[in-house]
Subunit: 283 residues, 2 copies
């Protein structure tokens, strides 16, 4: 959402409706409508560039109010499936499909959604006092107890990423109890009632240290694509702080945004997180 262009267009935050947190897809009417439209688009009933029927027509077709249709269309719009402009019918866009929050949050969910086979192994779990950056990101006192989980993640058996997740004590204790072969820590936590609702991501690059090199089977100093993520629960309390390092060529991050959907930004001077300037290790 938000800004745009100067003269004719020009900014202004976009807007979105609220949403429920945990209902099967087709229970809610707007989701049902969104799902059916999405399927129709993907099935090719509406080709890229085609116009969608007017809201009123859709409302009749699905026997819902216009408001509900608009809610559904807003979902599709954020997903980057359709645009809209006053005065004309909505247009179907081509382009990549955005993924869901859970696919973003969890390597496992993401891999599964792409048909890949996710795997991994825990390298070590360490219980230690929070370092300054940990404390800051998790909103803890310096020195509070945290858990560090270092894992290698694989795709179809190939090493792809090293994940360093840091959890506050309460959450970390749950993670430490998980069976060593647990594929998705995130999923396990969710099932134990830990809620993940918001995440801030920072993407830049860094260089492999000894752990990375050993786990990814690459030289120390190898350039890696880095994603750092701070995830919070509905109350805004941080529940995870993770640094993921990907081998180049294995992954790219995609973002869709529009005048009605912001969320992405660039960062220059260190604001919250230092940018990866450390430079390649002497190695």
């Amino acid at each position: 959402m938000s800004g745009q262009k100067a003269s004719r267009h020009s900014s202004g935050p976009g807007d979105m409706v609220q949403e429920e947190h945990g209902t099967p897809d087709r229970d809610l009417r707007y989701r049902r409508v969104a799902a059916e439209l999405r399927e129709a688009i993907i099935a090719g009933e509406y080709a890229a560039g085609a116009k969608l029927p007017p809201e009123g027509t859709l409302a009749e077709r699905y026997s819902v109010s216009r408001g509900t249709v608009r809610h559904a269309l807003a979902v599709l719009r954020t997903d980057g499936l359709v645009t809209s402009r006053r005065g004309t019918r909505r247009t179907v866009l081509g382009g990549p499909r955005a993924q869901s929050f859970s696919e973003l949050l969890s390597f496992t969910n993401w891999a599964r959604s792409t048909g890949e086979t996710p795997g991994g192994r825990v390298d070590r779990v360490v219980r230690r006092p929070a370092e300054p950056l940990d404390a800051e990101q998790l909103g803890l006192e310096a020195g509070a107890e945290v858990y560090l989980v270092l894992r290698l993640r694989t795709l179809s058996g190939e090493p792809v990423m090293v994940e360093r997740s840091i959890y506050p004590a309460r959450v970390g204790a749950l993670v430490a109890e998980l069976p060593p072969d647990t594929v998705s820590h995130t999923e396990a936590l969710v099932m134990q009632g830990v809620l993940f609702t918001d995440a801030d991501h920072t993407i830049d690059l860094t260089w492999a240290d000894a752990d990375d090199a050993r786990l990814l089977d690459c030289p120390v100093g190898q350039v890696l694509l880095r994603e750092r993520r701070r995830t919070t629960n509905p109350a805004g309390v941080p529940v995870e702080w993770s640094e993921d390092r990907y081998l180049p060529g294995t992954i790219a991050f995609t973002v869709h945004n529009s005048v009605a959907t912001s969320t992405l930004g660039r960062r220059h001077s260190p604001r919250t997180l230092p940018v990866g300037t450390d430079g390649p290790p002497a190695a």
Copy 2:
């Protein structure tokens, strides 16, 4: 927007309301409310972790309907300023503030919004037939005429990024006419009536070629953070296709997302765009 968690939460696209394209911030009621709440939050009237007043109260306070308040809050939510959960009041989040669409779209706008001084110089403008990737991204016939604009971008005089923008003939012709010292091509285009409403971004890494090395004053083969961007107008017609290569350490990309706001994704196997596997040039 979108998905969530498994058992209790679990996925499902989020949702957003539609939005208008070009009205001053405070004309619309929901924007006025959003703006005032945003200011109040930034001013510290609601600290991080604090609870916002209930929707009904806000509706009275601003003399609008509850629907309008919800619309405003949805804006703040997408910006990552507040969370929400049924049954409890909304919570104010800390964390980085999301930037606007225009800041994302244009290096110039972004730099200005951070207080930096953007600069740059055009290295060359080439009019040539579209290469296969260009044609695909711009939705043109192979061999259709496009304009390539190669520019060095600087921050406070320091080289930061090399931008290769490819425009379809109609748009390119406008760009080619711009005075050589035009700082913001995007802004200039907007003023000429070219609309930018949606963008797909892909972030990965690549290695400097001869042009990059010359302009950025770095060795050939230097690792660079790459952002490729395809921007479309409200009709879904591509208006720009750009590849930006940043020196490491100068920049990081940030994304906020929540159960109510997706847009970010990972990509593994080439779907639309090949991931940067080319590997460092023999150099």
